[in-house]
Symmetry: C2
Subunit: 334 residues, 2 copies
Amino acid sequence: LHPITVADVGEHALIANIRSRLTMPSWVVVGPGDDAAVLRPERGTLEVVTTDAQVEGIHFDRRFVPPEAIGHRALAVNLSDLAAMGGRPRAALLSLILPDRLTVDDLNGILDGLVSLASRHGTVLIGGNITRSPGPLVVDVTVLGTVRPRKALTRSGARPGDIVYVTGWLGDAAVGLKRLRSGAGAAEALTGCDVDRFLRPEPRVRAGVLLGQNRVATSCMDLSDGLADGVRQVAEASGVGIVLDGAVLPLSSSVKNWHEQHGGNPLDTALSGGEDYELMFTVRPRKHGALRGVRQRMGDLPITRIGVVTKARDLLVAASGDTRVLPAGFQHFR
Amino acid sequence: LHPITVADVGEHALIANIRSRLTMPSWVVVGPGDDAAVLRPERGTLEVVTTDAQVEGIHFDRRFVPPEAIGHRALAVNLSDLAAMGGRPRAALLSLILPDRLTVDDLNGILDGLVSLASRHGTVLIGGNITRSPGPLVVDVTVLGTVRPRKALTRSGARPGDIVYVTGWLGDAAVGLKRLRSGAGAAEALTGCDVDRFLRPEPRVRAGVLLGQNRVATSCMDLSDGLADGVRQVAEASGVGIVLDGAVLPLSSSVKNWHEQHGGNPLDTALSGGEDYELMFTVRPRKHGALRGVRQRMGDLPITRIGVVTKARDLLVAASGDTRVLPAGFQHFR
């Protein structure tokens, strides 16, 4: 009696199982189960589209990332990209590449995590694809959303004099991952918020939409590959420099505690850790009042001023009376 | 001096390389290189969306499928799904999951194949994602297109008395794959049209659009997993039966020759071979005249009458004076 695997059940039954969980709104003209999905576009909006994959052995380790977190993350990284454009998510496509040995229970866990996050953000799973993998489990998601004309936030709009802000906290996910790696197999016992921020990052959808609607931000991107990478990408796309104030980066007590126990510099974790899925954005100084309005509507989510955009195209971080060149961010194959 | 691999070059340079090949039309408000792409929808249309992955070791074997064919196939299977809905393709997202050892030359070949097919079908590569694979090469594509309201073709509209048709030829891809497998390593020498039909299937985009526009077809699907699977899916979705005339299935001389040399029944190849990416569709008898109009505008692509839709929910194939139950089609994990 071994646990039932996806190979035991077969493609058609797996698809039927997924379809049975879903209910379609009226704007889905043809939902899952046909050759393609058909949607009625939302009037007066532009469409925002993005895709991002979670690959076993690269983005997650199944020894300490439970199935439901894999599903959550696979959608969250896409919602975060959409949020960074000021987009409101609407629909998702799920491309599953599954090893034969994956159990149906684990697949259901992945779906639970994905569908639960989707429904919290008004996102409908409209279709997808299932195929076999001869190697790792891959969960590849495409998200479609909407943005009002001229409200899309890009990476290229930062101008000298703009103030640089970031939502939430930096470094938690990196510390959470370190904690999970060191205690692999005992994930249940690790209930720190850093661990949870790695396993179940909360995409800043509402923040992105508010920043776009009010035309508060001149540029925006999400910090999937760390703050240093974000700064570099926005500066490059905008043709500007950025100076960060290392002393004010928002570090949680969890990040500080970890470094007090294990050494190392929390600033490095904040700059290069990655996977925080916070939004970094730039604001013209005269838009300060409008930003206050966004803050009020954002509830508990902090927004921290972390630097300034400069004409000189240097990327610097000032800390402890010293100014140094920004470290490189994470990139795949490097 | 080893060939340059994707691991040598790094994610950012790979993305820059892809972006440099692309030109964006005016309806792409934000193209590749930002967190997400932003598109202006086409007025008065519904949106059609589909996703499909090509996985090394499952869908292709790199020993006899050249990189350019991998790219072609990855897009073609999606365009075929869109065609089956009567959709006109517009934009594609490319999710690449690449082993470190993949050479930059091979990646360029994949892109060549994909971009070349895309431009022939007016499809713009608007974005995507690149990540590492610890195992197989995966090329996962999402295609967005348009269809006029009430012109979408589904699997569920077949009614008793409808005539069943298929475009093109059946079994070529299966024979082509057999030929490639038996002569692995000598792909250049194999120039048979069956081999080409496996490596570079031509999605029936124009046929699908014409069938949808004229409201000729009551149902339609593409034959990715073989005619038997297609018949089964349409019959199930429509709540009907289908009787095929095995004597009239469109077999190319290539399929007939192969079976003359190697034995076996060409009918089985036509029914269960799969990967032909032809369209199977059903037409009410009184729409015969409208179908003639579609035929005329389809040029050289044959359309063959292969069966009839029945009220009795049996799936049968009549051949050589005998009627038998339809074999099962291909499904993953089975």
